[in-house]
């Protein structure tokens, strides 16, 4: 067992974990943060996306021990203390950017990262920025709309892609 100490959604946690434990397993099974889901389990689908020291990662493809000393934010840490939704959460609700909802936690976490780097992405930049997130319902159209809504850019905007958002 290896001792790890990290911040998850603003709370300090210390635990002894097996080195082989995945970060997503740690979040779900040790901390009960089941808002972060496991989709494909092969690092393809992005449903398990969380932020590690402020950048999006696929938490099924990171060991818990690798997150030692880091700050992790999950979908459960986005809303305000009083339950006020994060603007990206609000936009997904407003635009119905989901069908079954399984990919939504990852889509929202990746969108927050995308907009932090490129606050006014073009539609192409949004699609490329979310290319590591799969929607099994193929509901991409409203997801893109939700991102545009959150960014405050109207559909059909042609603002140029930020460097980091082009994949």
């Amino acid at each position: 067992m290896t001792r790890i100490s990290l911040t998850v959604d603003g709370q300090q946690v210390v635990d002894d974990v097996e080195p082989r434990m995945l970060l997503v397993q740690y979040l779900r099974e040790k901390l009960g943060k089941t808002g972060t889901v496991v989709g494909c389990d092969t690092s393809n689908c992005g449903a398990c996306t969380v932020h590690l020291d402020g950048r999006s990662v696929k938490s099924c493809n990171v060991l818990a021990v690798q997150a030692d000393g880091a700050a992790v934010t999950t979908i459960e840490g986005l809303a305000g203390d009083d339950g006020t939704l994060h603007p990206v959460q609000e936009a997904f609700r407003e635009c119905h950017g989901l069908q079954c909802g399984f990919c939504t936690p990852g889509m929202i976490m990746q969108t927050v990262d995308l907009l932090a780097e490129n606050p006014s992405p073009s539609e192409e930049a949004i699609r490329l920025g979310l290319e590591g997130n799969l929607c099994r319902c193929t509901g991409y159209h409203n997801i893109v709309r939700a991102v545009q809504h959150a960014a405050g850019v109207s559909a059909g905007s042609t603002s140029s892609a930020g460097e980091g958002a082009t994949a």
Binding site: T2, E18, P19, R20, M21, L22, Q25, D41, T42, S43, N44, G46, T49, L52, R55, S56, V57, K58, N61, V62, L63, V65, Q66, D68, Q110, D113, L114, G129, E131, G132, N133, E163, G164, A165, T166, A167
Partner: protein, 285 residues
């Protein structure tokens, strides 16, 4: 899917990492960003007894101006390399290739050195590193040595790094003012290329003065399209001139056949993608 149990050590220096490697030898696997290794461990295609994590070694991260080259620390993430203004200015081909590499989440975690040391022939960094004539710095118990890109890639998932050595840095010669393009052919988003072409050219007026062309997934290692490079020298950057040189792109290659396409299909793709990549690099795309 959970990896088989292993012991874990996260050394704070290259020397400590080398000591751990010397101690555990065959039973150890190095983890860099882990974006290729963790899926392998989870599918239990490999089950090392020890995993040595380079993630805590600060000296392996960052990009330094080395005068005639850029020195890219092996543990620098794809994202950081891709965003770096020095890389954009001096090794544009690397910046171009990284925009096509995997997806944003993987680029935040995956590392430049880790991907190259993994030596997947379908990886997106081998061809650019080769085309730019990079040098690989590896450190072992006896000190450091420099391996030219031509000798670094040995075979499928096999490099010139010995079992007691660690890749610490990749030196990319500056190619100031060279145009660059990475043309990647995939069937679905964020996948490995069926074939990709990394091209960088130095223009002299309307003609191509020099060209370097690297091919991804056209053999068990990345390869240079040398016949194309030679044929491009001094050629006007026109569709016809470039197409004639690009027709030679698959010469001497030994591409794989798989469900995505047979070898002949890949040879054809290489010529088409080379034409596009060279024209784009020359500003005519």
């Amino acid at each position: 899917m959970i990896p088989a149990a292993f012991e874990y050590v996260a050394p704070a220096s290259v020397e400590e990492a080398l000591a751990a490697l010397a101690e555990h030898g065959d039973d150890a696997k190095i983890i860099a960003g882990g974006q290729s290794l963790l899926p392998v461990l989870r599918m239990r295609l490999n089950a090392p007894e020890w995993v040595i994590d380079l993630g805590r070694i600060a000296s392996l991260r960052g990009i330094r101006d080395g005068g005639d080259h850029l020195a890219i620390g092996a543990m620098t993430t794809h994202h950081d390399v891709g965003q770096d203004p020095l890389v954009h200015e001096h090794a544009l081909l690397v910046s171009k290739a990284i925009t096509h590499l995997a997806d944003a989440q993987v680029r935040h975690r995956g590392t430049f050195g880790g991907a190259l040391a993994h030596a997947d022939p379908a990886g997106d960094l081998g061809a650019p590193a080769l085309a730019l004539g990079s040098t690989f710095v590896v450190q072992g118990p006896g000190g450091t040595r420099e391996v030219p890109a031509e000798e670094f890639f040995v075979d499928l998932f096999e490099t010139a790094i010995s079992e007691d050595e660690i890749l610490t840095e990749v030196r990319v010669p500056k190619h100031d003012g060279w145009g660059a393009a990475y043309e990647k052919f995939v069937r679905i988003a964020h996948q490995w290329p069926i074939v990709a072409v990394a091209a960088t050219v130095r223009m002299d007026g309307d003609a191509i003065a020099e060209a370097r062309v690297g091919l991804t997934n056209m053999g068990s290692t990345p390869v240079r399209a040398r016949a194309t490079e030679a044929a491009l020298s001094g050629v006007p950057a026109t569709e016809e001139g470039v197409a004639a040189a690009a027709a030679l792109a698959a010469e001497g290659t030994n591409p794989p056949s798989d469900l995505n396409g047979d070898a002949d299909y890949r040879r054809h793709l290489a010529t088409v993608l080379t034409r596009r990549a060279v024209l784009t690099a020359a500003g005519r795309g």
